[in-house]
């Protein structure tokens, strides 16, 4: 009897072990799918590779470059570059180091693949907010993307981009890589120094470009000095709402110099804004129109120095908050106020500068005048000292111009056409040399940086192909530059690619800057046949928090919440109220429901359509011929479009995105019955 009790206890223990084993051994989510690919012997690879190298005539440098940039299928690039598209009006997202184009983001320009600008009412409202002089403008000239920052580093949440042609700023949501706001500057005609953000993205800065009478007024060019003005605008960004708040934004009146790029001070210089300018000569041009006039290109290049604008933003915020002066509904701080409040200063800078770039520690301001072979470096502490000591003389408008020698830290001779500077994590700076078609690496001084070289010294130069404008280093304009890679954004490609006719692609050239102590190495040429990028920013991919599908079915991407009108599964219907027809439609592989929509000529149609899918990549398109409707409805999204049924007939609506094996069958008929009474009339 005792023995049988013992057996019972042993049996129970064995059962417990079985249960535990079952719990531990039961396959998890990835069960059985982690088979490693068969490893090839390195000898076999080397033999094959040697053959390829020999057949293609590759140099050892070529092979290294290939190995540094090749990204096997399914592996992700560690960096993502956000490049403006120039007058394509878009933003392009490129993976580094593979240089694969990952995404184009439509911004100011309708783009049918993304269903951008072809019926969606939320997008239409956005384009309306961006109307220029009452008209819809369906292109833009994007120049300088600005990723949102937290404490001076990219945070992967928002992206801002300007439209130089129309003085507009767009807000792009990096949760879904879609444009969410387009805002028109009500008093500026164009901009160039946008977009730039402050280290915590409180402000989006839009520097002006060509002086003009403020929008809403007219003055002849003979009144250029008196009535024409330059401008810098500070847009308030509400991170919670994900929108710029025009009511809390303001612009600053400036002399009719041509303001250009800006940068925000960071760390020690946080709270200060730096913008450069050119044409401080105030040349008015007139070639071919005015007898004896010199063209702008020489008229604006007469003085040796233009003015770097130095703005005390902390003080300006307070002044703007109390300011009552308005222009076209925009809070407008006058020069008079700025001078009286002692918040605006100029520093002479070598003429025709393009970049103003603040070093990672915030201690140095680097300027390059395109017509001067040096980069010129100002020290923030010296600027503060000169302001405290009032070492200045006023310009023609009474704005204090600080003494150049008092604020100068160093000048480094790099070569011809220095244009724009970026930084790495070792304390090196990189400057594009437009005329030399080179990128220069030089050392920051001051002892606070990691490199072992003597400060303010040219270290290395690498040829690029050709005519480099901006350069972008990995996180190279933040307080935490990453080093590793730099992209040279070349304007011309000339002979780099097989000919595709007289409109040549631009050339993005990837340069390895991660070789400590070694020279710069050119790794890869990426033809850019889809725009004319100006500036780009490169962010670590891991900072992004984008969704793969919208959080819930019925999602309104613009409001970032469920749309209360969103049709759900089983709620599909067509409702009629007099002449107003509302269609509640759903889409799921491989059908729309309803598949027939019968309406009458003259009906006002509101059409909601929900993509019910929850699978990653299960996107449906929706096109209606003749009514210029084409939507891209991503998983979970509800899109809405409206039209007046002014064309009768039978129209086939269908899915424009190849969604499934039965994609071609995913269509339905919109039948618009002719209005006989109107035909009689």
């Amino acid at each position: 009897m005792k023995r049988s009790v013992l057996y019972g206890i042993i049996a129970a223990l064995v059962l417990v072990v079985i249960v535990l084993a079952a719990l531990v051994l039961s396959p998890g989510e990835g069960g059985g799918q982690t088979a490693a690919p068969a490893q090839q012997t390195s000898a076999g690879v080397a033999e094959d590779a040697a053959q390829v190298i020999a057949n293609r005539g590759l140099t050892p440098e070529n092979v290294t470059a290939a190995l540094k940039t090749y990204m096997p299928s399914g592996q992700y690039d560690p960096y993502m570059m956000f490049a403006s598209g120039g007058h394509s009006g878009q933003v392009h997202v490129v993976g580094l180091p593979s240089m694969r184009l990952l995404r184009t983001i439509a911004v100011f320009t309708p783009e049918p693949w993304q269903g951008y600008g072809f019926g969606d009412v939320a997008q239409a409202a956005m384009f309306d907010e961006g109307k220029v002089a009452g008209s819809s403008v369906t292109w833009g000239d994007t120049h300088h993307p600005a990723l949102s920052e937290t404490a001076g580093s990219y945070d992967g949440e928002w992206l801002f981009i300007n439209d130089k042609a129309q003085s507009r700023i767009a807000v792009i949501d990096l949760r879904d890589f879609e444009t969410k706001q387009i805002i028109k500057n009500p008093i500026a005609m164009n901009d160039h120094g946008g977009a730039f953000v402050t280290p915590n993205t409180e402000w989006v800065i839009e520097g002006g470009q060509y002086a003009a009478p403020p929008v809403g007024s007219f003055a002849g060019i003979d009144e250029y000095n008196e009535k024409w003005r330059g401008m810098i605008t500070f847009w308030k960004f509400d991170r919670e709402k994900g929108r710029i708040i025009p009511e809390e934004s303001f612009a600053m009146e400036l002399p009719p110099y041509w303001q250009d790029l800006c940068d925000s001070g960071k760390l020690v210089s946080e709270g200060w804004i730096f913008c450069n300018s050119f044409n401080t000569e105030r040349a008015t041009g007139g070639l071919g129109a005015v007898e004896g006039a010199v063209p702008f290109e020489s008229g604006a290049s007469q003085n040796d120095m233009d003015y770097l604008h130095v703005i005390d933003l902390k003080k300006l915020e307070q002044v703007a908050a109390a300011n009552t002066n308005e222009l076209n509904g925009m809070n407008y701080v006058t020069m008079e106020t700025a001078i009286a409040e002692n918040l605006l200063f100029f520093i002479p800078e070598p003429k025709s500068p393009h970049g103003i770039d603040i070093a990672p520690n915030g201690d140095y301001m680097v300027v390059s005048g395109k017509l001067d072979p040096h980069v010129t470096i100002f020290a923030f502490d010296k600027i503060q000292q000169a302001i405290a000591d009032q070492k200045w003389t006023p310009d023609d408008y009474g704005i204090p111009v600080l003494d150049f020698d008092s604020v100068l830290e160093a000048q480094v001779e790099l070569g011809l056409g220095p244009l724009h500077t970026q930084f790495d994590n070792q304390g090196y700076a990189y400057t594009s040399l437009y005329l030399d078609s080179m990128v220069a690496r030089w050392s920051l001084g001051g002892g606070d940086y990691a490199h072992a070289d003597e400060g303010w010294t040219l270290i290395d130069k690498e040829s690029i192909h050709y005519n480099v404008g901006h350069i972008a280093a990995a996180e190279g304009d933040t307080v935490t530059p990453a080093g590793d890679f730099l992209v040279s954004l070349n304007k011309w490609s000339v002979d780099r690619f097989a000919n595709v006719g007289p409109l040549l692609p631009q050339n993005f050239q990837l340069i390895d800057i991660g070789n400590e102590g070694a020279s710069l190495q050119l790794l890869y040429d990426m033809p850019v046949g889809f725009g004319e990028p100006h500036y780009a920013q490169i962010m670590k991919t891991e900072r992004l928090k984008a969704v793969q599908v919208y959080p819930e079915v019925g999602w309104d991407p613009h409001k970032w919440e469920v749309n209360p009108d969103a049709p759900k599964s089983g709620e599909e219907r067509v409702e009629r109220d007099g002449n107003n027809v509302t269609v509640y439609m759903t889409a799921i592989r491989s059908h729309f429901s309803p598949e027939h929509v019968n309406i009458k000529e003259g009906d006002n149609v509101t059409w909601h359509i929900t993509n019910l899918e929850r699978a990653v990549d299960a996107v449906h398109g929706f096109a209606v011929p003749a009514y210029n409707v084409n939507l891209s409805i991503e998983p979970g999204e509800t899109a809405t479009f409206e039209f007046v049924a002014d064309k009768d007939g039978v129209f086939s609506y269908y899915c424009t995105e190849f969604c499934s094996a039965l994609h071609l069958e995913m269509h339905g008929y919109l039948m618009i019955e002719p209005d006989e009474s109107s035909a009689m009339k």
Binding site: G8, R614, A615
Partner: protein
């Protein structure tokens, strides 16, 4: 233990003979063990309802992470909507239409099965042993029911479905691997089912020791006379 044996050996008076027989059974150590095993069976069965019983993984090239459906006694979870979406192409009914009655009565049924075992533990009747049968057969009833539903689903495809001509009626593998179109399926039992199996074995052992106790008590009674 020794005191129980001593007590059992003490002759009882005639009028309390019936009662003392029961008392003698309940004094057997194997009786206490059987009571503990039966209670444990009910407890383990109750715990099992919080764990999945069965899981199927569907693999296809375009789903690199696979699709899963995980079945509990009274509900299922996982990529049910996505699997339904795919199944509609071959005319298979939505998964949540399956075993509706079973899933609806499962919570009550589990309580009843548990109470029945407890009943076996505390009510002294030889014939009450049949009350342990549901618990002892439950894991196999579960698999049997699952197989019936899989058979029913695979063999009652909507003839108007898009791929009805391409996919012949089939029975998805209740365990192990199967293939349907570009999908391979792998079905495995889950911890909940193993717990139910343990409960079944515990119940069986409980019954066994109850029988041992009874035989011991009867032997004592016979010897005592």
């Amino acid at each position: 233990m020794s005191s129980a044996e001593t007590t059992a050996k003490t002759p009882q008076s005639g009028e309390n003979e019936q009662l003392s027989a029961i008392a003698q059974i309940s004094r057997q150590p194997s009786f206490r063990l059987s009571t503990a095993l039966l209670i444990a069976a009910a407890a383990v069965l109750a715990v099992s309802t919080f764990f999945p019983y069965w899981k199927m993984r569907l693999n296809a090239p375009q789903y690199p992470n696979g699709l899963f459906v995980t079945v509990y006694v009274n509900y299922m979870e996982g990529d049910v909507a996505e699997i339904d979406g795919l199944n509609h192409y071959i005319g298979m009914a939505p998964l949540n239409d399956a075993a509706e009655i079973e899933r609806a009565i499962a919570p009550i049924a589990m309580v009843v099965i548990g109470l029945m075992i407890i009943g076996v533990a505390f009510i002294h009747s030889k014939w009450l042993a049949v009350f342990a049968i549901p618990a002892m057969t439950f894991p196999f009833i579960f698999i049997g029911d699952l197989w019936v539903w899989l058979w029913y689903y695979g063999n009652n495809l909507d003839p108007t479905a898009a791929l009805s001509g391409a996919i012949k009626p089939f029975t998805p593998a209740v365990l192990g691997t199967g293939v349907v179109g570009q999908f391979s399926t792998t079905a495995v039992l889950q911890p909940g089912w193993y717990l139910a199996l343990v409960a079944a074995i515990l119940a069986g052992l409980g019954l066994h020791y109850r029988r041992v106790a009874r035989q011991a008590a009867e032997k004592l009674a016979t010897d005592g006379r």
